[in-house]
Amino acid sequence: MNADNKNTRISEEATIDAVWAILKTINDPEIPVLSITDLGVIRNVGIQNQTDSSEPIITITITPTYSGCPAMDLISVQIKMAMIAAGFHQTKIEQALSPAWTTDWITENGKQQLKAYGIAPPVGKSFDNAYLEDLAIECPQCNSKNTTLISAFGSTACKALFKCNDCKEPFDYFKCH
């Protein structure tokens, strides 16, 4: 490998790291404490250098949490704007459906952020059984496991509504998916 190629590769890696750092600053519009990288919706960052040494094209692959999630369009716009602000003008956003997004991709940091915000993070691994199990969900306020499901569907597609039987507070649960 000649020196030029090696330098190009190093600068590509640096660019990709820089893009991940930008993506980390973008928060989910509906859960504003959670970064889209912690949410696990960024599947890949690719870079394609142009032969005429113009700005490389950055391809960011995102995956929707739910098919009808209205936040996806907004997230795409937010990514494009953040990239432009950081000096990247050639950004392409692609959507990948498979493998389907799962709550297993929410990072540990993300789960802590959710809890601090008052949303109970998903418990256990995403379901693979035909019919969902009933799990003990911990109240994000008082940590009691004495909680009851009010509705399997909450204020957004990804959440369910619970209430705590001890502190009597209702809360959102980020359901396993």
């Binding site: 929707p64 739910y66 098919s67 009808g68 999630c69 209205p70 990948a96 459906l97 498979s98 493998p99 389907a100 997004w101 799962t102 995403s126 379901f127 035909a130 019919y131 969902l132 009010i150 509705s151 399997a152 569907f153 909450g154 204020s155 957004t156 597609a157 509504l161 359901k175 998916h177």
Partner: protein
């Protein structure tokens, strides 16, 4: 499968998701209690998202064929397929276009249909067409929640009060003749799995499965009930009156 058959099959899946999604969305702001209003509106959103995925894929194939003799507006988009096709072009099952009726009809219909979708998508996940299998994989997770929610309602109404039982029994009587159409052109395993799930939920709900009887059909060929035209009139009005208008 010929390309036209493939397009038509994708449109069938898309139309089913769009029309049942539209029916669910009609409850938005009218649900019996706030939590259930939110639940069915979320379900509507899932379905419309699934419909978009199927329409987008169908449009991609239609545009790559670029053949006006196939009978589609070119270039096709998810919007042209949802908003610019007429009643006889829609290929959804009749059961999804029936009016919502009361809460019993709505939840029972969703249970009967999402159970069918659950087993169908489970099969499509293994389809050789990777885009179709990806959409099925994504949709399956959502449909599992729909199935659980609607199944719980069937049990609650069937094993509830005298009045709730009467209402869901009426709903069974009304919807039953529309269940047979879901299994046309599908493997027998889908109908046997569907029957098994139905038996288990109906057992918990203390409900009786109706005897075998004559079944309605026609949706796959574009022969619909009188209800679909009204849905499309409402849904398509804006695009028909103001072509290419955008929000």
């Amino acid at each position: 499968m010929t390309t036209l058959n493939k397009i038509n099959y994708l449109l069938h899946l898309a139309d089913n998701a769009l029309i049942i999604g539209h029916r669910c969305s009609e409850w938005c702001g009218h649900g019996p209690v706030l939590e259930q209003d939110i639940a069915i509106s979320n379900i509507a959103l899932d379905y419309i998202g699934q419909a978009r995925n199927f329409y987008q894929y169908a449009a991609e194939i239609i545009n790559s064929e670029n053949d006006p003799s196939l009978g589609f507006v070119l270039p096709a988009t998810e919007d042209s397929l949802a908003y610019l096709r007429d009643t006889p072009d829609f290929k959804n099952n009749l059961i999804v276009e029936l009016p919502n009726g009361d809460w019993a009809v709505t939840t029972l219909r969703l249970f009967l249909f999402s159970t069918y979708q659950f087993y169908l998508y489970n099969q499509l996940v293994n389809d050789a067409d990777t885009q179709l299998s990806a959409i099925a994989e994504k949709s399956l997770k959502e449909v599992t929640y729909h199935l659980r929610w609607s199944g719980d309602w069937v049990i609650r109404l069937g094993d509830g009060t005298e009045e709730s039982k009467l209402k869901i029994e009426k709903a069974i009587e009304y919807l039953w003749p529309y269940t047979g159409e879901m299994f046309i052109n599908n493997d027998d395993s889908i109908s046997s799995d569907w029957n098994k799930k139905l038996s288990s939920i109906f057992h918990d709900a203390t409900l009786t499965i109706p005897a075998k009887s004559w079944m309605q059909e026609g949706g796959l060929k574009g022969i619909h009930t009188e209800h679909l035209g009204y849905i499309l009139a409402e849904m398509q009005y804006l695009q028909r009156a103001y072509p290419n208008s955008e929000w």
